[in-house]
């Protein structure tokens, strides 16, 4: 079918879609439509059904009920290949390309030009270069994909998607690993495609980005559609309350609890003091003091070195310059074990690959850190295990409240809580949290923020890293500003400091 897209007829129309997983109704009678030439945001908390809906549309999941109409024809996809043939292209959060192949191969794979039955590599590379050029990308098609940054890989993935002249482009959390410049570059490409009449479905946790790029949005909650809105007609507060389905009490509550300022005694010894700590290629030497009872925030863009600072402070990576002093005693943190024995706990930003031990139970995950510290021979007595597990599961409100559940079956927010419990169980004196609230729903986020504030007020030292500057500002007493793998400034937080000030510091590199 080659009918030209018209703005009044949706290119994708899904109606009454239901998908059931054992025990869970992931999608319940969901309607969804997507028009040509629009950027449509799909919004919802974790578990709302966003990714299930996308997977239904891309043929990864079969649907139990409902119809999917693409460009006027009803489809029943039984695999991603069929959806692609129907003109639906998808770019996933983790770039789903092959790093071992070249850029050209990744773009053209499956659509290679042939000559006498054989792949014509010269033509393939030329075609790939053309596709890259139409997106304003100038990279060598013969270079291997793995040698490029995630941002470039993402754009290559979009190039690949457009090779088939897709009518629908689905972007699933495309910006979560990009910095501001890269997001801008991506959005330029997205707008260009939209203006060419492509329907873009955009999924993101970043509310600002959604407002920047989208024309319309559909909000899901608990597997059901709440509504479809024009982005310009729904303000941020309304959006968030539609998404979580309750008032913003939790967040306001939090605001009160962290308002009191900390006063670190003059002349007190910091719990941890880093002097000239650095690691070649990761982060330039920096100084940082963390006192008991305070939250030190690290602000900076992705790739600014904020994660690397956390990894050096926690022994996850080994520093190659500088010294660390714990309570004024020079200490070498050669590995995570050494740091843990010094009362330092580190929760990595990469929850899935560096935190969650999915096939162990919640109970085992909680005591893992504590048990590892004791060594394998001295097993924690069962009663003590139960006490610890009960205590933290209740304190952190872990759902489901079943310590025998496998951790991989919990939602992202609850996994994060379990990981926090693992670290709290080791009774740390310094807690380093790298993006503890990323990718989790608003409710869990508020709970974790509240917990951080409480822990600090009880005397724990906390290093808090987040991509969301508001969050850093809300929680921190002092803020270290990172840029280009370099700590450029340190400011004391107060009511007078706003997001704009921090952004300006990042932008100016601390040089006024």
């Amino acid at each position: 079918m080659t009918s030209s897209p018209s703005a009044d007829r949706p290119v994708v129309e899904m109606s009454g879609i239901s998908i059931e997983f054992p025990g869970v109704k992931a999608l319940d009678q969901v309607d969804f439509r997507l028009f040509p030439g629009e950027v449509h945001a799909l919004m919802g908390e974790n578990g709302a059904g966003k990714s299930t809906l996308i997977k239904a549309l891309t043929g990864v999941y079969g649907i139990d009920a409902g119809r999917i109409v693409v460009d006027g024809a009803e489809h029943r996809f039984s695999g991603p290949g069929e959806a692609q043939e129907a003109g639906i292209a998808t770019v996933y959060q983790e770039v789903n390309l092959c790093e071992n192949l070249t850029v050209a191969e990744n773009i053209m794979l499956g659509h290679e030009p042939r000559r006498m039955g054989a792949i014509d590599w010269r033509a393939a590379r030329r075609a790939a270069a053309e596709h890259l050029a139409t997106m304003g990308l100038d990279i060598d098609p013969a270079s291997s994909l793995g040698s490029h940054s995630i941002a470039i890989q993402q754009l290559v993935a979009i190039s690949r998607a457009m090779v088939v002249d897709a009518k629908v482009l689905i972007l699933d959390e495309p910006t979560s690993s990009l910095d501001a410049d890269e997001v801008a570059q991506l959005f330029t490409v997205v707008r260009r495609l939209r203006d060419q009449g492509v329907a873009v479905l955009f999924v993101s946790h970043f509310i600002e980005q959604v407002y920047e790029i989208s024309d319309r949005m559909t909000v899901l909650r608990n597997g059901q559609r709440v509504g479809e809105y024009r982005t310009s007609e729904l303000d941020r507060l309304e959006l968030v309350s539609t998404m979580i389905g309750r008032s913003m009490d939790v967040l306001e509550d939090l605001h009160v609890s962290t308002e009191h300022a900390v006063d670190v005694e003059q002349g007190a010894t910091p719990y941890l003091s880093a002097v000239g700590l650095g690691r070649k290629g990761d982060v330039r030497p920096f100084d940082l003091d963390v006192y008991a009872g305070e939250v030190v925030g690290l602000a900076g863009l992705l790739g600014s070195g904020r994660t690397e600072v956390a990894r050096l402070l926690s022994g996850a990576d080994r520093a190659d310059s500088g010294t660390t002093r714990i309570k004024d005693v020079p200490t070498r943190l050669r590995n995570p074990r050494a740091a843990i024995s010094q009362g330092i706990a580190f929760s990595s930003e990469d929850r899935k690959s560096e935190g969650v031990v999915g096939d162990l139970t919640v109970r085992e995950n909680i005591v893992l850190g504590l048990q590892a510290g004791r060594g394998w021979m001295r097993r924690l007595p069962r009663r003590q295990v139960d006490e610890i597990v009960d205590k933290y599961m209740a304190a952190l409100n872990v759902r489901p409240a079943n310590p025998d559940a496998l951790l991989r079956n919990l939602s992202g927010g609850n996994q994060q809580k379990v990981l926090l419990a693992r670290w709290l169980a080791t009774a740390p004196q310094l807690l380093i949290l790298d993006e503890p609230t990323r990718g989790i729903d608003v409710g869990a986020k508020a709970e974790i923020q509240k917990l951080v504030a409480e822990l600090a007020s009880q005397g724990m030292a906390v290093v808090f890293i987040s991509a969301e500057l508001e969050e850093v500002l809300r929680l921190s007493h002092r803020i270290g500003v990172m840029r280009d793998r370099h700590k450029v400034a340190e400011i004391v937080n107060s009511d007078d400091v706003g997001v704009d000030d921090v952004v300006e510091l990042i932008a100016s590199g601390g040089e006024h």
């Binding site: 996933y92 789903n96 794979l109 499956g110 100038d138 040698s147």
Partner: protein, 348 residues
């Protein structure tokens, strides 16, 4: 080697154009990284040259055309096995069944010929036996999600057991047609002796090379080795490809059995015991990563030649006992594996 490596040629983009994070040195580094993919193969080549040099210095007439020609003649069946194994390993799988399938094919050939079946029927039939076992293994891996290691292990036990059911004793092959085919040879430039087996092996290499580099199937093999999930989401025919690589490996093993039967003029149930290890070793020494996604079929051929040369040297040396072959191969494996490891560390 330029023709073996279509993705190597650099062209098509605006030269020197700035791209995010890519300055002059970065570009050069990128070029080097591309080359790095070929480093293991280059390493294999260097080792091959080194062994040849050592042999040439130590023994008279070692560096003769005859020795090299014999290398191909004596290892043709292993070359065919290694080529099939390369497909499987490129997807990140492994095939333990090839040695046993080779034996089954050889025994079947001898048995069928002995029973009076015409050679024209026997030849395709025994190759087909390999394909069928490969297909069954592929279906186990794909449809029933059995790990390749276990599925091919089952295939190995199955084929080896069948061998003994068919013929516990060695069966000599005396059929005139078969012997004529096996014994046929020709001389290239009057010096290089080529037998039927060598020609078959060369054809197999050619087909494999074409399949891997100039068909969508071949690129899908590499894509699966890079990331199976990505390949699936890219809409590539992952399922079909995964089954096919085992069919190819099985077919190669069947063909290898035929070549072995030609080589030994017999079929014996105990041939090819642990030959899968030689094939795997050749593939690894040839620079293919066992994790999949990286490697070349020509590398595997070089790997077989290296193994063959070690054997030749030890035969020439005379005083060295045969078990030194195994130790040398082990040491060589170690060197190559550590080399690959160092390269991959430098990359990240």
């Amino acid at each position: 080697m330029a023709t073996t490596t279509p993705q190597h040629t650099v062209e098509g983009s605006g030269p020197g154009a700035p791209r995010p994070g890519g300055s002059g040195p970065a570009r050069i580094a990128r070029r080097l990284r591309i080359d790095r993919r070929y480093l293991p193969v280059v390493g294999t080549f260097v080792v091959l040259a080194l062994i040849l040099a050592i042999g040439g210095v130590r023994y008279d007439n070692f560096l003769s055309v005859g020795v090299l020609a014999n290398l191909f003649i004596n290892n043709s069946f292993l070359i065919v096995l290694a080529v099939g194994m390369t497909f499987v390993i490129l997807t990140g799988g492994i095939d333990l069944s090839v040695g046993a399938v080779l034996a089954l094919s050889a025994v079947s050939a001898a048995y069928l010929i002995d029973a009076g079946v015409p050679v024209a029927v026997v030849l395709p039939a025994v190759v087909l036996i390999g394909s069928i076992i490969g297909l069954l293994i592929g279906l186990m891996v794909h449809v029933f999600e059995v790990q390749p290691f276990i599925a091919t292990l089952a295939g190995m036990f199955f084929a080896r057991g069948l061998c003994f059911v068919i013929a516990p004793e060695s069966i000599p092959i005396t059929d005139e047609t078969f012997v004529a085919i096996a014994g046929w040879d020709t001389w290239i430039a009057g010096q290089w002796r080529m037998t039927t087996s060598v020609i078959v092996a060369l054809v197999v290499i050619g087909i494999a090379f074409y399949l891997l580099h100039f068909t969508q199937f071949g690129r899908t093999v590499y894509a699966i080795g890079g990331s199976e999930q990505s390949a699936r989401l890219m809409g590539l025919p992952v399922a079909r490809t995964k089954v096919l690589v085992y069919v190819i490996s099985g077919t190669c093993a069947g063909l290898g059995g035929l070549l072995f039967a030609m080589y030994s003029r017999s079929g014996y149930s105990l041939t090819g015991v642990a030959m899968e290890l030689d094939a795997i070793a050749a593939v690894v020494i040839g620079g293919t990563l066992l994790t999949g996604g990286t490697g070349f079929v020509l590398g595997s051929v070089l790997g077989v030649l290296v193994l063959g040369l070690i054997q030749t040297i030890i035969t020439y040396e005379g005083t060295l006992s045969s078990w030194w072959t195994k130790i040398f191969i082990g040491v060589l494996l170690l060197v190559f594996v550590v080399l690959q490891r160092v390269l991959s560390l430098r990359k990240t």
